[in-house]
Assembly symmetry: C2
Homo-oligomer: 338 residues x 2
């Protein structure tokens, strides 16, 4: 039988962030209706290399697709001229188990994670939000900014803080307009300003929405620095032991999960849950339930809202299928026999 | 970057059962020295289709390879002219996380499972064994016979019993010599006889080694039918709830695992373990430990020995890497950009 292989270069030709946002929203909504299955994740640390691999998999019953994504994060690769972050996504037809496609997973992961963060902001931040703060100026931050500016055209100020090295934030800010144009063909309105901000506590005082996207395993953001009404989309904590927010924030915040079980097991909610600050009942809902209208998101302008995005293979599978359909339309993709 | 894709047709051109037996033996031995990791398996039942998918994955530290295999078993496909059993194997370089290859997983699974069963027989059956019984005349039985005849040239009589439909065993026996020659290029000595046997209880009375390879979820073989000295390589039970042997057999048998944890969780040992007939300490060792000389296999000619093979992705990864190396030598394999 024949399957299609899509390279990262081909994915970049066919995938646009706005279509990915629509796709991710549709998956979250399907999940809320119970027509999806998130299968247990598998992870492993290669200790001598400070490297991590993880396997995420799942089933989209509505789309009749299932699949698995295997990601590798080998940070020492950077010194050897290799990408640190590589992975493969396999998609199968759930009608008959036949393989449909193999593709690079790292670019899809970046796009769909940006879309998830942006949907968290659009759904749970105050509608009047103008000031966005990105905590973490690493490789993923670019995709967070791109998707959030698309989903939230009212944003005027994007502030970038890097907790490890403030020069990263300076460099990020100096290149962002050019990169959004050259890498994603996005033209930003002139009103959007980008600033690097080393002063995290100060910048939190007028941040409406915050996206945390670091590899931290300790709270970067203290509860007392956070003003009422702030929204957090927490992206970094996607494995055991990672955390970015002060667990105390969860005592009063309205907290939402991408997947309840994953968030309590290894997401931003892991530490608050294990330390008894929250219980499973403290979760107000999954983001998809808010999108579907079966859970209530923000109630007042004073609420602190938190969206914990641990990452679902469902998003990769649906985005990968979108890429496959678009590639077919354009005559792209490599055919192989299997 | 470039990866190699191997189709089932290409795998059939390069993989020979004797090399696969060597490879599987080497993996079991590596596992006994602690230089491997078996990652948790993931499985899912598509109930409306009576279909199953599972994901197995792991790490061969010595070979610096890791990978994952995703298998689909959709029995209703047969009516639609599609293969029931499909799957993909992904192999990565554990030095840097780079993907190396994608290949069909179903043929590799069949070959390496045959090799596992054969190594169980060679390691744990009496050296004078002449009579082999195969219980289950389905698709996998062919590979069990091929590998066991290669590993145990002293076998003279191969009996085949099918617990569901005795006509399956008749058909299997009538074609086996021709298939061994045409599919695997194996010439058998004239002394080897094949017989279909509907009378399971009777044939057990002079069976030296038994390979069970059915989809059963109940004990097919009763304890009182088994004579002292018999060896069992149990292949069928590789998921929750499957079993082929009377749990009571485990009270006195010397039992060996391919992987202790998997065997107790979802292998042939699952039911005896959950019903309290055996404990983890009842396992005499893993097959690799016997091969490595750190566990004792059969002690007396009277021992009943059991090898529970639940299946390890490690075997697929090592066999896949063998295929990749042989394909390169022969200029086979499809190159794709990823």
């Amino acid at each position: 039988m024949e399957i299609t292989v899509l390279s990262q270069a081909e994915l970049k030709q066919v995938l646009e962030p706005d279509r990915v946002i629509e796709t991710v929203e549709s998956v979250y909504t399907q999940k809320a209706s119970g027509r999806t299955a998130v299968w247990p994740s598998v992870e492993y640390h290669f200790e001598e290399k400070n490297a991590v691999m993880d396997i995420r998999s799942g089933y989209l019953a509505g789309d009749k697709l299932h699949g698995a994504k295997m990601l590798n994060n080998f940070p020492l690769n950077v010194g050897a001229g290799l990408p640190a972050f590589t992975g493969m996504l396999l998609i199968f037809d759930s009608e008959n188990g036949m393989p449909l496609a193999l593709m690079d997973a790292s670019y899809i992961t970046s796009l769909r994670t940006g879309a998830a963060a942006a949907l968290g902001v659009r759904t749970l931040a105050r509608k009047t939000s103008k000031n966005l703060l990105i905590v973490g100026a690493g490789r993923q931050a670019f995709f967070m900014v791109a998707a959030t500016l698309l989903a939230m055209p009212q944003i005027e100020n994007v502030r970038v803080h890097d907790p490890i090295n403030s020069a990263n934030a300076d460099e990020f800010v100096s290149q962002i307009r050019m990169r959004l144009k050259s890498e994603l063909n996005l033209d930003l309105p002139d009103k959007v300003n980008f600033t690097a901000r080393p002063d995290l506590q100060a910048v939190l005082q007028d941040s409406d929405a915050v996206i945390t996207v670091t590899r931290a395993t300790y709270p970067i953001i203290k509860k007392e620095w956070v003003k009422p009404g702030t929204h957090f989309s927490c992206i970094g904590a996607d494995m055991l032991g990672k955390e970015e927010l002060d667990p105390e924030l969860f005592r009063t915040a309205r907290a939402f999960a991408d997947d309840r079980k994953q968030c309590l097991s290894f997401g931003e909610m892991e530490i608050p849950f294990k330390s008894g600050i929250i219980s499973e009942q403290s979760i107000q809902g999954e983001l998809g339930e808010v999108l579907a209208g079966t859970a209530t998101g923000r109630i007042s302008e004073e609420d602190i809202t938190i969206f914990d995005a641990t990452g679902l293979a469902l998003l990769d599978i649906a985005t990968g299928k979108l890429a496959l359909d678009l590639a077919r339309e354009k005559g792209l993709g490599q055919k192989v026999f299997i």
